[in-house]
Subunit: 445 residues, 2 copies
Amino acid sequence: MAGSVADVAGTSSSVVRIGLLGCGNVGAALIGLIAEQADAVELRTGLRLEVTRVAVRNLAKARPVELPEGCLTHDAGGVVDDPEVDVVVELIGGIEPARSLILDAVKSGKPVVTANKELLANVGEELFAAADAAGVDLLFEASVGGAIPVIRPLRESLAGTRVRRVTGIVNGTTNYILTRMSEEGATYGEALAEAQGLGYAERDPTADVDGYDAGAKAAILATIAFGASVVAGDVYHEGISAVTPADIGFAHRLGYEIKLLAVAEAHYDDAGGGGVPEVAVRVHPAMVPADHPLASVRGSFNAVFIEGEAVGELMLYGRGAGGRPTASAVLGDVVDAAGNLRRGTHAPLGLLPRAVIRPIDEMRSEYYLHLEVVDRPGVLHAVSGVFAEHGVSIRSMEQEGLGDEARLIFITHDAAESAVQATLAALRGLDVVDRVTSVLRVVSG
Amino acid sequence: MAGSVADVAGTSSSVVRIGLLGCGNVGAALIGLIAEQADAVELRTGLRLEVTRVAVRNLAKARPVELPEGCLTHDAGGVVDDPEVDVVVELIGGIEPARSLILDAVKSGKPVVTANKELLANVGEELFAAADAAGVDLLFEASVGGAIPVIRPLRESLAGTRVRRVTGIVNGTTNYILTRMSEEGATYGEALAEAQGLGYAERDPTADVDGYDAGAKAAILATIAFGASVVAGDVYHEGISAVTPADIGFAHRLGYEIKLLAVAEAHYDDAGGGGVPEVAVRVHPAMVPADHPLASVRGSFNAVFIEGEAVGELMLYGRGAGGRPTASAVLGDVVDAAGNLRRGTHAPLGLLPRAVIRPIDEMRSEYYLHLEVVDRPGVLHAVSGVFAEHGVSIRSMEQEGLGDEARLIFITHDAAESAVQATLAALRGLDVVDRVTSVLRVVSG
């Protein structure tokens, strides 16, 4: 580090010089937060944080924060290599050049803090190995759940327990849309348009509504919770665009809310020991019982629900996005990385073998099915026969007449995905079934 | 540490020898958890955890866990001094001898993990200073909220933000009682008897129901959240024994749940900077809006709701008590302390000046007041005049006839505690007021 200055108590503080890659929403908030909090952080930790270099794409763009003269540059590589930079914060997003810049930084002994979920969910294994080999920190609390402490609790607080399952509401856009549908009776299209108007959803909302953003976060959560590397490509996805107001109505009547869940499950083949589990990771809308803690996570809030062997159930809840919340998570990591750098230590992630991924066909769940059928005698008998043939047991059924048609709503008992898919294929082949309108997984109460 | 053994990967692991002081519920669960998790922890961290010495009061007592021969002893001081012990876990509870044992341990360079809230809330300042001076860890995640990661997020994840307020449901016994009253219509006495029957409440329930247990935890939360030492004696207390089914009924009708809250608030006198805030710490029952995340914390669960400048609102939720949940928090700390010991570092708490405590008189809140009055013309006029005289503004009022008497329910706007107390004294002096039945603070929605 740069040297030391005298602090208020007369003892000496270390100056920590931060090189920032990217200065959008989160970067600008981080610069502002460091200006506000530098004195408090110094008092508490003896670390004096200073942003000395900032790499941006557009030098001419007006920015809402003040920076020392000569601080801005086009040259991200130059910031990483600058001997006047102690800690690198990567907020560019995407895979390249972020990957190469981070590899360069850690190889030259500089800790890195990143909020880049896409990068970690795709090439995290390579980056973690490089950081461990170099003996420096690569910290990423802000990559999942914004301001919510999620990564650190999973890495550290839960070191004494085996995590069985992590279930997250980790995408604020889709949770906002589903909350508007649930509370205002909006259609998916209306709620999406509203989210776009408020800037919560992109013009092209695919990454959010089809579950890719949540999927990258699910991969990171699974990796940290189970200690085995899971990548974005391992995650099964279904989005929320097919959820209808009718589904929401039935969910309410049956005592559920519909939420887009990111689920990471570990299947251990022994009662104890250090074995690496088989891992199932998926993102899909699901019916969540109204008295489950995740059901009350509204609007753009996020939450991560953790089930562990000794801890039982935990939930971590808060602001999953936004400049200042995300910047505060980045700053927590910067303080940690800077402290470790001063003490000549780092927090290793440990060995990360590739996870064995359990295919979606082998998952089990309760299911909600919504069928439109011809309304005549014998139809229910024919339909229920198909369930029985495939070994899918029905927990409850409702029938609603719609003139010539009827609507059948089933909730099944716990069943294998493969059996439910076979049941659906057979149902679609029946003359009396007009349409399978919806299929949703149900979280057991 | 003791030396090293070859682990499965062929690299060498460090053996960490744990000396346990106390072997009740949590201690026995910890021994069991270490036996289950030792391989997994070693694989991930290279630390081989072994419980080598256990100090107990009664050597003859049967224990549900297996221990190596000669491991049990009466002599707690001998466990601390034993050169074959690297890390000390204190689970005796109470102030002495726990205090002296911990001071001896840290002075001889041994990190300590404790779950002892009473100790920390009374002499934490002395213990933290001794640990920092000796350069070893004193960790205490299990002291508040059992299995819930609370201390670590406040210390580390939120290093980049200023915490304004921490509001906790941190006593499972009282939350169980209030949940039974809310959901089953039980009286306080019935719900307490039920909690005692289930082992959730002690025969003498004072520490729980009068808020002393929650108060100790509030002092610890305030200390960590605001970086200024707060002790149990600084905490204002009101218990739950005066809460009636009628209050619960009114709360529901008005859209609230009644919860026992531990509240720690910081009042900063500047817009930024490193100043130490004035701190208000209190425990009392309160009406919580039904859509507030704390309202849905049911039964013996705990939760801590954190409001910070940059992070917005966070909530950490889970099992606040029980042998295995608490032991899992202890074990997370043991892994952390052992890793730091091996790396020759520790996590200092930093400077902890004594907090300046703001007296309860100066607190502001909305209030719920329930009066029994004579039912005749002019009474409401007289009563409302008393509120007006003391500058307490009424947000809503309901009147309910009870024969000769009437019941008046007021919710006030935000008002000073001192003004409300003066209002109550004046109301009690009115001929037409038979009784002030209940006064509860109201959390604004």
